[in-house]
C-alpha cells in the first residue's frame, strides 16, 4: 500500500468516524428547533423507488464499508440497536426497544426486541449483538467503526445478560451517550461465524455475494446486482417495524439503486421521472430544476446548511527546513494570527455563496454549521468583509506594499503562495478562484493549483508539501465528539499542525482540555459550555479560515410519500422503510 493510499484510507476513515459519532445528552435530550416532527403518513404497500448512486458500492459488508455509497446501500439492508432520527437529530429505539444508563454513566443495559427475525427467517437474539461487537472490535479486521468503540484507549465491553438483554461497559462516562450505537449494523451470527472463525470475514458479503448469503435486519434485502449498472433490493418480509395501523413496513416492494457517474446525467434522469430520489445535487442543478419544474411533479427541498464546512487552511506544520525551505519561509506569515485575520477579513463569503452556490449555502466564521442548532455558539463574531480593515491589520503588523501594490512582509519579501484544491470538485475550484481574487486585493499573489483528490490528501496528511489548501470536512453527527481528532493537538486530523508532540500554543492546550472534558461529561449544558469555548477559541485563533457551509439539497418525485430529508447522512433514505408511492403526485411540503 502506497503512502498516499494509506493517507487516503486514514482520511476516509476519519471522515467516516466523524460520520458516525453524534451528539447529545443522556436521559434528557435537549430541545431542538428541529423537533417539530410530523407523524408519518399511513402509506400504500407496493411499488419501487429508483435512486441514483454516483459509483458502485464497494462492499455490502458493514464491518468493512468505508465509502459513502456502500454505507448508504448497507443502511437500507441493515439495522442498528439505537437509531438517530435524521429529522429530529434525536435517538430513538431500533432493535433495542429500551435502554437504561447506570448512574455513573458507564453502564448501558439494552433491552432487545423480541420476535425479530433476520431477512432469512432466523430469529435475532443477544448472541448476534455480542458477536457483532466482537467483529467491530476485532483488531485484525480493522473495521472503521473500531475507533468509535474505544473510549480512553479501552474497548467497550459487551456482555449478554439473557437472550434479550445486553450490557455495555464503558470505561468512562461518554458524552454522546447512546448515539454511539447509531449505524452500527447488527449482523447474523449464523451466517458469518464460520467465515469469522476461518479468518475469511473480509471476503464475504462483497458486492458479488449471492442474495441467500446475505441477511440483515433492515427493511430491504439483496435481490440482484449488475456491476456498473444497478443494485436491486427487495422488501424484507421479516422486517420488524410496523406503521401505526399495524401494517408491516417497508411499504415498497423494491428499491433500485442505479449507477450514474455524472451529476448532470443524474439530474436528467430525475427530471424525466426515471428516478424518484435525487440526493447530493449541486446548487446549480438544483436551481435549474426548480426553474424548470413548472408542473410541480417534483419536490425540491433545500434542507438548509448541512454539517459540511469549507475552509482555507494555511500550512503551520513543523517542517523539515532543508526539504521544504520554500514553504518554511512562508510559515512565519501563516503562523501570524494577524495575517490569518487579514486573510479571513478579505474573504468574500457572501460572494462565494451567491456565485458558487446560487445562494444555497451559508457563510461561516467558526467550525459549527448554522444547521447544527443544538451546538452552535451564539458568541461567534461575524465580521463583515473589509479589505481596508485587513490592510490596516497587515500594516500594523509590519507588512507593507511595493509600487505595484504587492504585499511585502517585514523583511520586504513579496507575499505569495499557492492554494491547492481538489480538481474533481468544481465548486471548490470556484471558491479558490474567488479567494484568489480577494487576496489579490490585499496585494497577495495567489496561485491556484487543482490537484487530483488523492494527491491532495497525501500532501495535507503526509508530506505537508503545500502552502495552503482549500478543503472541506463533513461531520456525520451534530455532536462535538467526532471533532476530537481535529481539535486535539495529538489528533490524527489536527490538520494545521499534524503530529504535534505537545500543544504548540496555549490555546491549543486549552482546546485539548476542553475537548477531553466534553467527551467524558454527560450533562448537555456543561458540554455546551465547554464546546462554546472551543468554538470561541477556534474563531479567535483561526487555525482554519472558515468560509461557508453548503445546504443539503435533495429532490424527490411528488409521488413519494413520507419523504423527510435531514441534514445528517443519509439525507434522503434514512426513513426509506416509511416511504411509499402514491398513485398520483401530492403537494410538496
Amino acid at each position: 500500500m502506497s503512502a498516499s493510499h494509506k493517507a487516503l484510507c486514514r482520511y476516509r476513515r476519519l471522515t467516516f468516524v466523524a460520520a458516525l459519532l453524534f451528539i447529545t445528552s443522556f436521559a434528557v435530550a435537549p430541545s431542538s428547533a428541529q423537533d417539530k416532527q410530523s407523524s408519518p403518513e399511513i402509506g400504500h404497500p407496493g411499488g419501487r423507488i429508483t435512486v441514483t448512486l454516483r459509483t458502485d458500492p464497494k462492499t455490502l459488508n458493514p464491518i468493512l464499508a468505508v465509502d459513502t455509497t456502500s454505507r448508504e446501500v448497507i443502511g437500507t439492508m441493515q439495522a442498528d440497536l439505537i437509531h438517530i432520527n435524521r429529522q429530529t437529530q434525536r435517538t430513538e429505539p431500533a432493535l433495542a426497544s429500551s435502554w437504561k444508563v447506570s448512574s455513573d454513566g458507564r453502564k448501558y443495559t439494552l433491552q432487545l426486541r423480541r420476535d425479530v427475525k433476520f431477512s432469512d427467517g432466523v430469529p435475532f437474539t443477544a448472541d448476534d449483538v455480542v458477536f457483532t461487537f466482537q467483529l467491530y472490535l476485532d483488531e485484525a479486521l480493522s473495521s472503521p467503526q473500531r475507533d468509535l468503540l474505544i473510549i480512553d484507549d479501552k474497548p467497550i465491553a459487551v456482555r449478554k445478560i439473557d437472550n434479550y438483554t445486553v450490557e455495555f461497559d464503558l470505561t468512562k462516562p461518554y458524552g454522546p451517550g447512546e448515539r454511539i450505537f447509531d449505524s452500527l449494523a447488527i449482523l447474523p451470527r449464523h451466517l458469518l461465524e464460520a467465515a469469522y472463525r476461518d479468518h475469511k470475514l473480509g471476503e464475504v458479503w462483497g458486492v458479488n455475494a449471492k442474495p441467500e448469503e446475505i441477511a440483515g435486519l433492515g427493511p430491504f434485502r439483496l435481490k440482484s446486482y449488475i456491476a456498473g449498472q444497478q443494485l436491486l433490493l427487495e422488501r424484507n418480509p421479516n422486517y420488524w417495524r410496523k406503521d401505526s395501523s399495524g401494517t408491516t413496513l417497508p411499504y415498497l416492494n423494491e428499491l433500485l439503486f442505479t449507477v450514474v457517474a455524472n451529476e448532470d446525467a443524474q439530474v436528467i434522469k430525475f427530471k424525466s421521472g426515471e428516478t424518484q430520489i435525487l440526493e447530493r445535487v449541486g446548487a446549480d442543478n438544483f436551481n435549474l430544476l426548480q426553474k424548470e419544474n413548472l408542473s410541480k411533479s417534483q419536490c425540491l427541498y433545500d434542507v438548509g446548511p448541512g454539517l459540511e464546512f469549507v475552509f482555507l487552511l494555511l500550512n503551520m506544520n513543523s517542517l523539515d527546513a532543508t526539504k521544504h525551505a520554500d514553504i518554511a519561509a512562508k510559515q512565519p506569515w501563516f503562523r501570524d494570527l494577524k495575517f490569518r485575520e487579514a486573510v479571513s477579513l478579505a474573504m468574500d463569503r457572501k460572494g462565494m455563496v451567491r456565485l458558487v452556490y446560487g445562494g444555497r449555502a451559508t457563510p461561516i466564521w467558526g467550525n459549527v454549521s448554522p444547521g447544527n442548532k443544538l451546538w452552535l455558539s451564539a458568541n461567534i463574531q461575524h465580521p463583515d468583509r473589509s479589505i481596508d480593515q485587513a490592510k490596516a491589520l497587515l500594516k500594523s503588523d509590519g507588512f507593507s506594499w511595493d509600487a505595484n501594490g504587492m504585499l511585502l512582509d517585514q523583511q520586504k519579501h513579496p507575499v505569495t503562495f499557492t492554494v491547492i484544491v481538489s480538481s474533481s470538485n468544481a465548486q471548490r475550484t470556484k471558491i479558490a478562484t474567488i479567494s484568489q481574487d480577494d487576496l489579490k486585493q490585499l496585494g497577495i499573489d495567489v496561485k491556484v493549483v487543482p490537484l487530483e483528490f488523492r494527491a491532495l490528501v497525501d500532501r495535507v496528511m503526509n508530506t505537508h508539501d503545500y502552502d495552503a489548501v482549500l478543503m472541506n470536512l463533513v461531520n456525520g453527527d451534530v455532536d462535538p465528539t467526532p471533532e476530537m481528532g481535529l481539535w486535539r493537538s495529538a489528533g490524527e486530523m489536527h490538520l494545521w499542525n499534524i503530529g504535534e508532540k505537545s500543544p504548540a500554543t496555549p490555546w491549543e492546550a486549552e482546546l485539548d482540555k476542553l475537548m477531553e472534558s466534553q467527551m467524558t461529561t454527560t450533562n448537555y449544558t456543561t458540554r455546551k459550555q465547554l464546546y462554546d469555548r472551543v468554538q470561541e477559541i477556534v474563531a479567535e485563533n483561526l487555525p482554519l479560515v472558515f468560509l461557508l457551509s453548503p445546504d443539503i439539497l435533495v429532490g424527490v418525485q411528488s409521488t413519494v410519500g413520507n419523504f423527510r430529508p435531514g441534514i445528517l447522512d443519509p439525507y434522503a433514505l434514512w426513513n426509506v422503510d416509511e416511504q411509499f408511492l402514491r398513485p398520483t403526485g401530492a403537494a410538496c411540503r
Partner: protein, 343 residues
Amino acid sequence: MSARAKRNALLSLFIALHLVVIFPGFFSTQGYGEQDRDVPFSPPTRLHFVRPDGHFSFRPFVYGWNQAALDTGTYEVDRSQIYPIHFLTAGSPYAIVKGITARTHLLGVEKPGRLFLFGTDDFGRDEFSRMLYGGRISILAGWIGAAIALFTGALVGLIAGYSGRRVDSVTMRLVELFMALPWLYLLFAVRAILPLRIETTDTFILLIAVVGIIGWARPARLVRSMVLSAKERNFVLAARAMGASNFHILRKHILPQVLALLLTMAAYLIPQFILAEVTLSFLGLGIGEPVPSWGTLLAELQKYNVLVNYWWMYAPAIALVALFLIYHWASSMIQQKVGVPLT
C-alpha cells in the same frame, strides 16, 4: 470573386484575426480576470442607436441593469440609465508586451455602466475579453506546438530519408513508436510529476512542448518520403556526380522542395495543435485560472445548467470553428499553389 480577390480577402481576414488575438488588451473591454460579482452570467449587453425618446444617436449606447432586479438574480434593462460607448478610451491597464503597459481600449463605457459584448461567466467576468485573451493562448499553443513538431520532424525526416538504410529504419521504427504513444495519458503523467509551484503559463508551455514533441512523427515520415523521391531525381544525381557535398545537396536541392510541404503542413498542423490545447484545457490539464484559453472557456459548457441556460458561453466554439475554416482554406490554397499532396 476572382481567385486573387478571394486570396486577398482571406489573407486580410487571417491577419486581422491574428492581430486581434495577439493584442487582446486593446480590443478587449476589460482585463480577463476582473470579477464583477454582482453580475454572474449576465447576458450580452445590447448596443442601441435609438434613444428611448425616439432620437437616433450615431454614437451607440447601452442601458444599465435594474439594480433591484439584479439583487434577486434577474437581468432587467433599466432604460433610465444610458451609457454611451466611447472609442479609444482609457480602461483597465494591460501589458502590450511584458513591461509595457497601456490603458487604451478600443471600446468602453463609463462606470457604473457595464459593457459585456458576449455576456459574462459565472464570476461576472467579461466573456468577450476572456475570449480574446483565450485566443492568444490557444493560437500561441498551436503555433509553438506546430513549430516544434515541424522542426523536429523535418530534421529527422531529412536525415532518415537522405542517409537511408540503417539510420532510416531505426528512425522510422522510432517514429512508429511515437505515433503509437497515447499522448493524452502521457500528458496526464507529465502534469502529475510537475512540481506545484510552477507558473501556470510555464506548465502550459511545457505541455504544449510535449504535444509538439510527440507530434513530430507524422511530419518526419512525410519529409522522409519526400526526400527519398527527391534524392533519386536527375538533378540531384547530377549534383552528386559533380562532387557536391551532402550538405550542399540537402540545402540547395532537397530542402527547397520540402519547404513547400512544410508550409502546407504548418497550416494543417496549427489548428490540430490548437485543438490539442483546447482538449487539454477542456479536460482540466491546461492553463490554470484565472488565465483563460478557449479550452477552459469551453470547459464551462460541461456543466448542464450552463449548457442549457447561457447560450453566450458558446462564443469560443464559434470562434474556434471560424479560425479552423480560415486555416483550412489557407492550407488548401498553399497546397494548390505548391501542388504537394498532404497525406
